[in-house]
Amino acid sequence: MSDLAWLDAALTSARPQALGALLRYFRNLDRAEEAFQEACLRALRNWPVNGPPRDPAAWLIFVGRNAALDQVRRQSSEEPLPPEELISDQGDAEAALAERLDNSHYRDDVLRLLFICCHPDLPATQQIALALRIVSGLSVKEIARAFLVSESAMEQRITRAKRRVAGADVAFETPGPVERAERLAAVAAMIYLLFNEGYSASGGEAHIRVPLCEEAIRLARLLLRLFPGEPEIMGLTALLLLQHGRARARLDAEGCIVLMEDQDRTLWDGAMMAEGLVLVEKALRHRRPGAYQVQAAVAAVHAVAARFEDTDWAEIDRLYAVLEALQPSPVITLNRAVAVAKLRGAAAALAMIAPLAERLSGYFHFFGVKGALLLELGRAEEARVAFDRAIALAHTPAEAAHIRLNLDRLMKDSAPRGNTKAAF
């Protein structure tokens, strides 16, 4: 890294707070972004010479606000402006401002900034793209690369999303407890979407896009730092850590999917898993269960099993039952069926997922699980039909390749005998 790496890092980490405060001040996203941009330019000139300020976010807010106000003044009068050195020398003013910007202010500023990206009219991918642009400060080029679309397409997408958001009515007053909880839930959902976009890419060649996962974890930790006592945010952060901690083991050298049962657990990231486990433990102490916490608890059961055979399936079954009650969904029942298959056999699991067929008729994993269960029961022909359907629904080459592997196995098993049923 260059000698000025610290400058880049400081600007990136100060961005959510600084931009959030400028948005509260100007109540206009474009103006806030311009002000922040200007403040960053001045930081690039000023910090290498004078050294970094004690509180970069406060410096950027102060300078950004003044620069934007100057802009307004410049437009309204021909009065000469003070020399830049005067504006940029923030010695005392900075300290005073930092005092007024206490943590509770920052908290709602950053939450608001995240929340405006979660506009319900915006499709999920646009919410994520907007958050990456506005909150994370990634360039359009970087975001386009992450989503595997052209830069101009992403530029359009973000511009459209911004226009939509600009027309939205977002309250700038400090939110009340109910409103704050609603915002937190919306933002948590958006961060989870972002993570999933990276964890199981919705299209294109790459199956896992690590930068998106890492960015989601960064945002989750940011949120948790601001709301350290929220068990669901602990759960969300834990869930992301426990899932991403397995990333290195999820694909083999050829980029093929490795199922949990075949994963080399020494490739799991010990530090990430440990942090995830701590957060699950902390969250559960609150006894306020929520969907993220329960999913994190499931991931934790896998994390503590030294070998796949050691997995506590009864606990996973129990946790999915809790999750079904909290948030009924056919996908959760499907996941539970995997645990049930381990506990009570494939037939019981198959019976459990049979009623889901209609609602999950377009879901890749439904046919993957169904095929595997049928295969286990020796119903090769039906398994083949399910696997064919799964391939048709696969989102990435890795997903399709994984199912094809099952099909190949099926062919190999059945070919010499001519009839797989004979094996049973």
Partner: protein
């Protein structure tokens, strides 16, 4: 000054404060590279470095605060911009030597873009205990 002139060497804690958001913004590769470089320094200083700890993010912390009924709070004790994210225990003959060790430990952090502060604090009581030995 010969060793005989000195009494026992002083133990210093080197407390590592970082902008947590900046540490969290490092990619896995950057973080691993930083750890590898710090390990090189640690080995070089091994003779005078005792226990070393990297702390999990402050979000993993729980704080018990004294009161009529001690209060359990999620998160770190102090909500500061720079958080205590690790520490070294060193054994040095002089403060100068401890500062020199801190300088070496600072270099990889700065190269990684972290605006760190390393606080060198003399230790008054040190009981190594048995855990982690």
């Amino acid at each position: 000054m010969s060793p005989a002139d000195k009494e026992e060497p002083m133990r210093y804690a080197i407390l590592c404060y970082h902008d947590e958001a900046a540490v969290g913004a490092l990619t896995k590769e950057q973080d691993d590279a930083l750890m590898a470089e710090l390990e090189v320094v640690r080995r070089k200083l091994e003779a005078k470095l005792g226990p070393v700890a990297r702390l999990m993010p402050t979000t993993a912390a729980t704080t018990l605060r004294a009161g009529a009924e001690p209060l359990l709070i999620d998160g770190p004790f102090a909500e500061t911009k720079e958080a205590l994210l690790g520490f070294y225990v060193s054994e040095c003959a002089t403060l100068e030597e401890a500062i020199e060790a801190a300088r070496e430990l600072m270099a990889p952090r700065m190269a990684a873009g972290l605006m760190s502060a390393l606080e060198i604090r003399p230790i008054s009581i040190f009981l190594p205990g048995k855990a982690g030995a």
